[in-house]
Symmetry: C2
Subunit: 370 residues, 2 copies
Amino acid sequence: MRARNLAVVLQAVHRDGPLTRAGLAELTGLTKTTVSSLVGALLEAGAVSESGAVRDGERGRPGVAVALSGHRVAALGLEVNIDYLAACVVDLTRSVRLRRTRPADNRGSDPAEVLQRLRDLVKEVTAEAEGAGLRIIGAALAVPGTVEGDLLRNAPHLGWRDVRVADLLDLPCAVDNEANLAALGELWFGSGAADFLYVSGEIGVGAGLVVDGTVFRGTYGLAGELGHVVVTPDGPACRCGGRGCLEVYAGQDALLGELDSVATLVTALAEGDRRALDACGRAGDALGVALTSAVHLLDPGRIVLGGIFAPLFPWLESSVRGALAARLRQMRGTPPALAVSANGADAAVLGAAGLIIQRIVADPADVLGL
Amino acid sequence: MRARNLAVVLQAVHRDGPLTRAGLAELTGLTKTTVSSLVGALLEAGAVSESGAVRDGERGRPGVAVALSGHRVAALGLEVNIDYLAACVVDLTRSVRLRRTRPADNRGSDPAEVLQRLRDLVKEVTAEAEGAGLRIIGAALAVPGTVEGDLLRNAPHLGWRDVRVADLLDLPCAVDNEANLAALGELWFGSGAADFLYVSGEIGVGAGLVVDGTVFRGTYGLAGELGHVVVTPDGPACRCGGRGCLEVYAGQDALLGELDSVATLVTALAEGDRRALDACGRAGDALGVALTSAVHLLDPGRIVLGGIFAPLFPWLESSVRGALAARLRQMRGTPPALAVSANGADAAVLGAAGLIIQRIVADPADVLGL
């Protein structure tokens, strides 16, 4: 009961704070004595702090307000991707306190070696966070592959199969697919929309569907593999064993061709380079077809393009919009709105940290040990 | 509180009955007096009945057992499809008491005329059910198109757009897409599995995803439109305005060609007719491709083929299995199991009636007016 009430109070502060103790009692239906005791525990744990006086309703006296604290409790977001490792620290108010990215070539790599490097990064980031007075309560890791429970089942570009990544990481750590976590990053650190399909354009292409603020995961947690939706049944072979998947047209490798980075590609596109424009045209057409299938099956509220699709959007937009309009108009009136994520390459690592923050707010007694 | 407790008692009887009043009290944590009063109300409403004596736990005396009653409360399932109207009556124990199908040609039809004929069918079926002592508590209608709330948005084969079908039907009636209701039919009247993608093969092709016993509907209730998943981006034009959708390869019209019925097609296939075999081969290949995309996006527990795909399964099976195995093996180990529904053409109308039964069990006080 106390655990439940701690959650009720912290959630009220999270949603409607700053609030006085009297305001919290009114909002939650708990007695003032109970609220005071719960607020005391949350203050002690560093989850809330007391801020300046606020007026307490129309007729009340000014009181001391309780707000979420950004000064002590924090979460660690981690990411192993194909060409980088990343970490970030987010405090309880969802302010991003630290971000670190390490370029790497993790294709066909040894999980133990990559995760050793990630452990080094964790040490460094944790020390820096602690230096700023933050206490890291938990961690979550984004990986570019399918995850069932704690098991990374298959990350084709890394060449990893059936790896228990958390065991190799030496700290308690949730693990999820990078597109799912990037979708949560969009939910918590993006536009504020609660219904969308987040499309993650990286070396692999994935997607995370958010319906009413919740990620749709399917039966085994494997939903949203947009990159392997079939665009052309007899198209080029894909790493997944299929043919003509979206990824062979719109993954980073297909888009870059001989170029060495997305920045170079953007320059080439801006200069009207024919090969770059053709690659983007093919990617946009394929994305339009795959998203048509995805809209018919998943019924997203809107579509948010993230990862490398964000900087490339000016060159993808017309083909994607054209395909969606032509193919969906009759069944759905207007096709879902199409937008670009503002989170950039940080989406997944932010979502990973946000997941831990969400767990703290959902059950502070358990996560903070109150 | 009484409404809540009526639901608790009816659900316990539904799940674990027959049960004595003492057994119900033990199971629900309610007092025996409360249970007796609630059972009294449910008996009065005809939702439960008293059956023979059962032993009441190890040491108890034999008591009178309370079970769901199949004798009074019933639900009406209705369906408007492209080539038939259907109705069924299901009692509270989910026994099917009546089924009626009327062949019709509803392509490009007038909603008011078709629904007038459905009203005649409702009258006939209701009278027959009442003659058997049943009281129809509610109705649900399956339609071959997209439904948002109570609005049939678009049924391309009927040629209906933005029709409030329940208003034309002259009785309170829930409305849903036929594939969603057929999926519920599979859940409640099928194999008992709780995680599957039901694929509805009719003149239109649709699908309903059930995850942990619940239909996934997407953001606006439009999810599961498998028939318009793109198989070949530049394929033949589809009624939906797109090109190369699954439906142009695997819908009933494409499968039948010049033939006049599925029965004729099955005969032709059994006789080795080349055109029939080719049509089935194309349909099976397209179904394999579209289901690959669907598995990647939706992550179903298994795939259940219904409607006309059930009798055609012997001629579809190898291409569908082949495509799923080749394209999914690497990402998912084994592809989802593939099975055939036993519900036949009745799946949607059964699911419609089942939906009302589910509502009665979920909230008997409200639905039965207790």
